[in-house]
Symmetry: C6
């Protein structure tokens, strides 16, 4: 039932955590960046809250473009496609905000994403990380999928303290307030390869 | 439950006041201005009245562009993204009109917004400020969030006089008739910084 | 309840008359004309009949552009925003046709609108003025708002004769057949000012 | 109740005949042609069948453009606005096809339309005139509006023979098979004037 | 009730066969090709299956453009309008696929369509002809309309053998597998004329 | 009932497998690539999950464009039309993902598709192949249609082992994890011909 963690670190793929009516689940967010004309594609049966969350993430990244050395016309000359597999399962809510933003940032900067990290958190236009629901179920799902490190919103830290050790044991749980912190934990530079 | 006021004054973030079925609430309106082609993005599950209100605010700002030293092609060469966090909560109504307009004006002019000010009021195309509902609940929410100064429409001043001192004590309540007055209270100039 | 008439004559603001389930009301139509690319914005929860009415008014004005000395590319190089405040209240019907057209014409030509005039009437593509409903309620609302002069469709003149003097006393009621007549009554030239 | 026939022949206005739940009615179709970029506007609460009918009429006119001396880029460099007054009344059906096409043709060629003529008939892409319903009610409405000549589809001629003389007396009823015949009856050339 | 067959062979008009709740019917598909910018118009109350069928037919024709001597930019520099008269009657289904494709091909190549031929069949992107329903009702309608030759999908040939001779007598029924065969039967070249 | 396998290998046509309420079925996916401006057409009554699946496949192909020697501006200068015949039958779900991607890849590269191969599997943006439902019904349908080789997702291999030999006998069932493997099995190069 639970997809195992990525076998190796990749660019543009980030593990998110979902909270559904039947419990927690992991979902893998894929991002492709292609030469194009500024189109944003969102596929995988994303609801409108989730789509708005993706757009907020993109605006955040555009606003820090200078600092990340992203060329000024990058978003006009490239298309961004965000896809969340298991394409028949409807997905919604804002809690994949930092996951989608991290995947996009990885795809743009070609920094690799640590495959043993999962994350959950609403993102704002300024890169603040807001609290989410279903933390217990999500942590359980992360653990079952072999995840070692989970990034959560600072405002959810209080919820962690209420969980039994059975759930949190063996998981490194890192509370964050901003996307800056997420990037430092989840992304790392690699030398560019030619053939992608 | 209540988000504390911004810790420090920022550009492009303004505290608004909402009146929901469960009482008053504060909401923080974020605006990013990016080099672009004139797109307006409105995210955070805004209803159509609220979206129209945002567009009225933008037209107002365009109409006073000369006076504010905004370059004539500014809105053709930039994208504006207005986001209201807690992205899963539907929001609607015209009462965030002056809040959104102030956030946009701050983002364009890079003037800072006083973090201890909240505001509520419908905006018209000419910058008039029209009355809103739920004033009592909104003032209560502002107070609980640590707000010191609340800007309200002049036509709501009569409602203030009917409130108990318990609500209004410690709050500076400033009635206004036009956006001009709002700007003078909430925005102040800072020297431009390089890295944003 | 009734907004008083504009204190002074302005450009691009015209007082209309509405007939709602709870009686007559006045509504103030605001128009901003901005350098742009030909976009037409209609905000304030206008229904589709009212939106079509606005578009008919604009086509009428375009068709008389030569006579009004409007540059031929004016509508390609400017955006028009029509807003009707109290943005949460749905509005519909064709009876604000001449009001919207007059506001647009004022905004384009920078002629001022007499603040003591209100008007009601459907507009056609050729500037004919067609009859409307709820005349009695509208006149009452105009009177209560301090309006002195009301422009009505010629085909509603018969309805006026059936009203009690209590309603019509003190109101100058001017029946018209065409937009030409409306312009002559409501608009007058002023010297251009610099700062708008 | 019945609008009288146009007092004088005009360009771009044609009298149509409608068949509603409360009997026949006349409706006046107005067309404005303006320098533009090829937009087609259809206002007056037209249903989708009626809109398709208008588009079929425009394609027909484009296909005979050479013969009518219409410049090849005419429809790319002009906007066409078709409006049917009494803008709050929903209208639908294909039977105003030849009426709309005639009004457009008049507006393009600046030929005048005979004010004492009304017409009804579905139009096809090739300018064929197809039969319509409610002939009796339409003829009655035309008569009451002071119309002298009514153009009907050839395939409705059999329906005329079944009508009582009370209805048809005093009406010239002309059956047609093609738009060519309609044009010959309803349109005539006038010298161009300057100021429109 | 049944429209007679076209009196003479024409360009861009093809007789199709429909199967409705009240039996079979013939329908005449009209196509106009005009200098333009690549717009495809589909009018006559076509359902979405029928619209997709038209688009499949156009793609098929584009894919064989070389072989048919259609200039490479033809579909970028022309507009295509497909109209099916009796514009108030909803029409749907894929069985007019080859009929629409034949009408388009005729309009592009200016080859005439044999007026005594009717046809029915789903079209695929590669020009294959797939089976349809209601063959018996359609053949009956064709016969009543004076049609001499009916083109049907090869996969419907088995259905023909089950029909009584009363239906098929006097009809030439030609089963086809591809659009190539349809073209050879229904279209023939004429010398170009000037004035269309 | 079951369409036989393609008689010969073709470019741009791939056999897929569907699972409907009445059992398994085969469906033939056709792709045309035409000089154009980057439009993507999807016809044949595809549901929104299936359309998203097609778009994911196209993004995957764009992302491997370099490796496949696809010119960088290919997708800007060509239109892609994906059609699934039997255009009246609604189709949905992600399981035709690898089938559509293979058909597109074949049409672009002009590599032929083995006519005796069918396939089923969800595709991700990175070309991973995800498991699908209804494997038993699909294999049965493939067998009845004369298919020799069926490509399935690796994650469905466990389902195969549970099937009776009656179903799998005579079928070569190849489990795959990535689109790379699908291409190697289903596509092969042929020399370009001139006339297509
Ligand atoms: Ca799962
Ligand atoms: Ca929603
Ligand atoms: Ca809150
Ligand atoms: Ca609404
Ligand atoms: Ca009011
Ligand atoms: Ca409506
Ligand atoms: Ca009437
Ligand atoms: Ca309809
Ligand atoms: Ca018929
Ligand atoms: Ca449908
Ligand atoms: Ca089948
Ligand atoms: Ca859906």
């Amino acid at each position: 039932k639970f997809q195992p963690a990525n076998e190796e670190d990749e660019v543009g793929i980030v593990r998110g955590l979902a909270w559904t009516s039947v419990g927690g689940d992991t979902l893998q967010i894929e991002v492709n960046i292609m030469p194009g004309s500024g189109d944003i594609s969102l596929t995988g049966q994303l609801g409108d809250v989730m789509k708005e969350s993706a757009r907020a993430g993109i605006s955040y990244i555009r606003s820090i473009g200078n600092r990340m050395n992203i060329p000024e016309d990058f978003f006009k000359t490239h298309d961004v496609h965000i896809h969340i597999p298991e394409g028949a399962v409807p997905k919604d809510g804002p809690s994949a905000g930092i996951t989608m933003a991290t995947a996009i940032l990885s795809a743009i900067t070609e920094k690799k994403v640590r495959a043993d990290v999962a994350m959950t958190g609403e993102i704002t236009l300024r890169g603040r990380v807001l609290p989410i629901g279903g933390l217990k179920e999500k942590l359980l799902a992360a653990k079952n999928a072999g995840i070692k490190t989970v990034i959560i919103p600072k405002d959810n830290q209080v919820d962690v303290s209420e969980l039994s050790q059975e759930i949190t044991r063996g998981l490194e749980i890192i509370p964050v307030m901003t996307m800056d912190e997420v990037e430092k934990i989840a992304l790392y530079s690699v030398r560019k390869k030619d053939d992608n």
